[in-house]
Symmetry: C2
Subunit: 338 residues, 2 copies
């Protein structure tokens, strides 16, 4: 809109050099009180705002961190972003957010966008960003050569990549075990591709069965294809599964949304919860309190994870040696569905 006010304008009006203005701007100590005041007054008067591009060019850093996520409208991810953003801001860092969706191509694009902005670090939220094949992770390895890469809830062993995560395997194992202990021997593992870490959760689930010398029934591993917010459709899928002859007395869902869907299914099928069918969700989100009966769920301490991640990052940026991997334990919170 308007012509930009630059430090030249300030320097001229204040009768000092641009270097002095710059010093004032950067809180450099070597400026006389009187000069400083004069410059600050004129900055105020002219409504000057420093140009971050120019500044970034000189400093090759603008204290900004890039956050990559698949879908910021997912409750869990939204919460994570909130916690991370807050912690970063408290440390004087700003945030660039990019949502990538789930296509590899877009993830790569977003990554290189962030690199071009010369962010001080890139935070990837969720295991969505780790691909199956080594080759498909090459862009991450390369990015990590330029700037530290932080993973939340994912696990990747590359140089300069740091992971902060919850041990989903163990938490799933324990949750499943608790269902088995209560006599639910045919627990359905209900997941969709968006649930981050579904694979680890599945392994934990399977391990529990093996541990108890119970058979792992392939039919009981059920992949939900639909929309992650469409409760009705989840319930219908489960109904269909039941009708197809698959028998189950418990549902372990890979996130709370699916857990709510499971509750809907059980209720509309006239099953008693938890007697006929026990249900456990994952994330311990607010949804667990919204349903009737309230949903038992695995709490993976998101807030702790996020603040730890930022703490680690701050350490790295200050040049300290930091652990590559920090792992917390999850914890089953029993409510009315177990």
């Amino acid at each position: 809109m308007e012509k930009q006010v630059t430090i030249y304008d300030i320097s001229e009006k204040a009768g000092v050099s641009i270097a002095t203005v710059s010093r004032v701007l950067n809180g450099n100590s070597n400026v006389k009180q009187k000069t400083r005041k004069k410059v600050l007054d004129i900055i105020e008067e002219l409504g000057y705002t420093p140009n971050a591009f120019a500044r970034g060019l000189g400093l090759d850093s603008m204290n900004t961190i890039g956050i990559l996520c698949a879908d910021s409208s997912d409750t869990y991810i939204a919460k994570a972003i909130f916690y991370i953003e807050r912690a970063l801001r408290e440390n004087g860092y700003n945030t660039i957010l990019c949502c990538t969706g789930y296509k590899l191509e877009n993830k790569k694009k977003a990554l290189s966008l962030l690199l071009s902005k010369r962010v001080d670090s890139i935070i990837m939220v969720g295991s969505h960003f780790v691909e199956e094949s080594e080759e498909d992770n090459a862009h991450i390895r390369e990015a990590a050569m330029r700037t530290p890469v932080m993973f939340l809830n994912a696990d990747l062993d590359y140089k300069n990549v740091f992971c902060t995560l919850c041990d989903d395997y163990k938490a799933s194992f324990e949750a499943t075990q608790s269902l088995i202990d209560k006599g639910h021997k045919n627990v359905l593992f209900f997941y969709n591709s968006n649930s981050y870490g579904a694979k680890k959760k599945l392994s934990g689930y399977q391990a529990a069965y093996l541990q108890n010398e119970l058979p792992v029934n392939k039919d009981l591993i059920y992949f939900y294809h639909g929309n992650n917010e469409d409760i009705q459709s989840m319930a219908e899928c489960l109904k269909k599964l039941e009708k197809s002859g698959v028998d189950f007395d418990g549902i372990f869902a890979s996130d709370d949304n699916l857990g709510i869907g499971a509750i809907r299914y059980a209720k509309t099928s006239g099953k008693r919860i938890p007697e006929d069918i026990a249900i456990i969700g994952y994330n311990n989100s607010m949804l667990t309190e919204c349903s009737t009966p309230r949903l038992s769920s695995v709490d993976n301490h998101l807030e702790t994870l996020c603040s730890q991640l930022v703490k680690t990052l701050m350490g790295i940026l200050s040049g300290n040696e930091m652990p590559q991997k920090i792992i917390f334990s999850g914890e089953l919170v029993n409510r009315e569905t177990t």
Copy 2:
């Protein structure tokens, strides 16, 4: 980490000038195919990523839009951000996200941060950003002199400020009217400060009462102070209110979270829904499908609002004359609580 690869490195290795490299980078047509290929190959080989600071300095724009929100972990805001971010990305724009919380001081800080980044526009999500007093909005007026300011779901008549919103007044009026029509003459207006536009919703509610020549009972306007995710606490507040002798046969909540709290209250108090007490939420979020009974709610067409906002913005940035205010209607979605 590593020394940056610049266009000088590319130009040298390719045996062309930096201008040519720059042209290739910007998809300028006036480059011979052969030259272009050579340059691109070397860019690939050296793993070059353009420096956004330098680029921004030259162009004084980096196609980025700043988004300001109070709390990105709020479901509704998170969704809005998602829709906006997606639409912007489809138009070749990137996003800087800043969460400000609810303190004026922090809002101002975040705003000037975005200005310093020379964003092409600033989008403010939610009415949280409009203060009571003219004076406290001065920073917005000033910002708008530098760059277009877009409001989602808020209403401010400044030059270069554009608003896209749902007519919450009207929607609330209609929702309340529909409760009155069904015989609920003592509807509680249940709100908290975080619900954006609570004031407009309240006016709509009150207008409906006046319209029907019913008294507006001050006791029925109830402000919830607690945490916006603590369903139990909401229910307890309502219980307390009831015990204090306030009588109501309907609850109109300013967002779905509060609506869920209202359901919890009604159920634990042994009231029949909707016979004894009807409940309406606001936002028509996913939560409406999670509860039993499912929550009726006002849909304010968030996705439409967001895409319209971005459409308007793109028009502005292309230099077109655009309407300052675009208003959609909300719509009551009746489910099992009405």
